[in-house]
């Protein structure tokens, strides 16, 4: 039986006012029997450093538990710009679609 890959879709603005609840939501999203976690930012319109820091913290937590981490980043726009500037690819696999992200985690 293949291991699960939960997908968390985050829409709207991932800013300092949402950071605390995002952290809780993402840290609970994947269980130890899962292969990894996909965070889908396709419908996110804004992300500040507080939002970015949550993704880095989640990446670290998943790594400790030996789970894979992939992030779906929309093509063009502010969120991609931010992801590039802070070099999120150093801690997460970046993809354009959730399907591609899940396939990558299962294959990897």
């Amino acid at each position: 039986m293949s291991e699960g890959v939960p997908i968390v879709r985050l829409d709207g603005e991932l800013d300092i006012s949402r950071a605390a609840s995002l952290r809780t939501q993402l840290l609970r999203a994947a269980g130890n029997r899962d292969a990894g976690l996909v965070v889908d930012l396709s419908d996110a319109t804004y992300m500040d450093s507080a939002g970015v820091n949550v993704l880095f913290e989640v990446a670290e937590a998943l790594k400790e538990r030996q789970l894979e981490f992939a992030v779906v980043v929309p093509d063009g726009g502010l969120v991609e710009r931010v992801v590039t500037l802070v070099d999120l690819s150093s801690v997460a696999r970046l993809h354009r679609s959730a399907d591609a992200a899940v396939t990558d985690i299962r294959g990897g």
């Binding site: 300092i16 006012s17 319109t45 804004y46 450093s49 502010l78 710009r81 500037l85 802070v86």
Partner: protein
């Protein structure tokens, strides 16, 4: 009645409300008064019940020989039982035998009372309560007894009425003041509220509120609780708190109303309220509104045209189970004004509602965008200086055009950052920035603000400010705080600076003993062309 006894009794009656009583607190005065009444009529018990504000029931306020009545807060429905019948018929009632009479109050039987006599307490042709006496042995109360008790009751009513009015006026004033909230002072919004109570009752059910939402939008609400008096006012206080609770959790206007409707059905079955709640997002050029049986808001556009928003019809709160409240979006640009009001502003006897709405629309059209003057103008013209028959509330919110240069000052608190961002989005839009530029520049600005909030410590550093200006060189945002710059600590802390540097053309840090200033500059595409 024999003359001598009548005279004696009359003299005794004077004592019922002599001057000494008038200095006692209300409850003590009533107890003392009852003691004198029991002497006067040679009876075993006496009690005073006063009518609730809403007229639905009588509640024991003082008793002699029936003290449990007051302790148990016995409530007698208006029109039912012995006391209820007296209040409803406004006539004395005699009960010869308690065992065979229609009695609601169990204590009368428990105490072994045999015969009763009660009279209404009248004040200016209004029933305010009931005074009754009882006898442990069978007694045939006659017309003279009833006459005497009524005269004692009339005197008591005057004393009670004066005392109640005095006390309730004081309470009502304090209560009303606590229910009309201080309106927030926020960048990018100008808010004014007015409330005028009805002439007949100090406490009405109209209310309004305005508060910042976590997203940086402004929540505005106006409502009308059906009914008057303390109960209506208390309910309105609960609704206001509940609305804020749901709103702060980021529920949309329709969802907030649906939840409040369910809550109200549980909180006060049988009560109803109208309510309108809107989320104003001028940074997006829109507002979202839902209503529950409330008249529609009016929007005065920047060009001076006034329009009544066309909203889906919806029942008042608590009118039906699982009510669904549809939302409507409306345009809300810089320089426009939203007017919320309660029906007291538009309703006239014997006039169709549309006429009142049109009168309001005409008055608002071409009027000033200054919210205080507009609110005063509406109250002055539509309500006048005379006494209003219904209470009236008005809430006016103006979305001012932001000047260039423009300075915003906010508390050094993370919660301030979304509001600052919304304000800067609007300012940048006015300065000609593209959508993409607005997103990137406000993100850089938010990062600088987050730093400023983090630096803020000590008594002098409770605020930070952003000064925005544009020139041929582009836009410059200067974020100042009174704290000392602190180098980012920890592996996750440097990303704010990375984003600022990546998103702006130039980032400069100026440190002095007065604090830290971050200068963010960026050339706009529209200027380069």
């Amino acid at each position: 009645m024999r003359p001598r006894i009548a005279e004696e009794r009359l003299r005794a009656l004077q004592s019922v409300t002599d001057a000494a009583l008038s200095h006692l607190p209300l409850e003590q005065m009533l107890t003392e008064l009852l003691a004198r009444v029991t002497d006067l009529l040679s009876v075993s018990t006496a009690a005073i019940l006063l009518l609730e504000d809403d007229g639905s029931a009588l509640v024991s306020r003082a008793a002699k020989g029936l003290e449990e009545e007051v302790e148990r807060q016995v409530r007698i429905p208006f029109g039912r039982g012995f006391a209820g019948r007296i209040a409803a018929t406004r006539r004395p009632v005699v009960v010869l035998d308690v065992d065979t009479a229609d009695i609601v109050n169990p204590i009368l039987r428990e105490k072994g009372l045999r015969s009763l006599l009660g009279v209404p307490l009248m004040l200016e042709s209004r029933v305010i309560g009931v005074l009754h006496v009882g006898s442990l042995s069978p007694r045939q109360f006659d017309d003279d007894d009833a006459d005497l008790l009524q005269r004692a009751g009339d005197r008591a009513a005057l004393a009670i009425g004066g005392r109640l009015a005095e006390r309730e006026r004081g309470l009502a004033d304090a209560f009303q003041r606590s229910l009309i909230p201080p309106l927030p002072t926020l960048p990018g919004f100008a808010v004014a509220g007015r409330y005028r109570p009805a002439a007949s009752a100090a406490l009405g059910g109209d209310w309004y509120d305005a508060f910042p939402l976590p997203s940086g939008a402004l929540g505005v609400a106006i409502g009308d609780v059906v009914g008057r008096g303390f109960q209506a006012a208390a309910l309105m206080g609960q609704l206001r708190a509940a609305l804020r609770a749901y709103a702060i959790d980021d529920w949309s206007p329709g969802s907030v109303l649906g939840r409040l409707s369910t809550l109200l059905r549980q909180l006060q079955p049988g009560w109803g309220a109208t309510l309108l709640y809107a989320v104003l997002e001028p940074h997006a050029g829109t507002g979202t509104v839902a209503r529950a049986g409330h008249p529609p808001p009016l929007v005065l556009d920047a060009d001076g045209r006034a329009r009544l928003l066309e909203l889906p019809v919806a029942v008042p709160l608590a009118a039906v189970r699982n009510a669904v409240y549809e939302e409507a979006r409306f345009e809300l640009g810089s320089g426009s004004t939203v007017v919320l009001y309660t029906d007291g502003l538009i309703e006239r006897p014997e006039e169709p509602l549309d006429a009142g709405l049109e009168r309001l629309r005409n008055l608002v059209e071409d009027s000033t965008h200054d919210p205080h003057r507009l609110a005063d103008g509406l109250m002055g013209t539509l309500i006048g200086k005379g006494s209003a028959t219904d209470d009236t509330a008005v809430l006016v919110v103006t979305i001012p055009v932001l000047p260039d240069p423009y300075t915003v000052r906010l508390p050094a608190d993370p919660d301030s950052i979304p509001l600052m961002r919304r304000t800067m989005e609007r300012w940048l839009d006015g300065a000609g920035a593209s959508r993409e530029e607005i997103g990137e520049i406000t993100l850089a600005c938010s990062e600088a603000c987050a730093n400023a909030v983090e630096h803020a410590y000590g008594p002098d550093a409770t605020e930070f400010e952003v000064e925005a200006s544009s020139s041929a060189m582009g836009v410059t945002l200067i974020v100042r705080d009174a704290g000392q710059w602190r180098a980012p600590r920890g592996v996750n802390r440097g990303r704010g600076l990375t984003l600022m540097n990546g998103l702006m053309d130039n980032v400069e840090l100026h440190r002095s003993c007065e604090g830290t200033a971050v200068h963010l500059t960026r050339r706009l595409a529209a200027q380069a062309a």
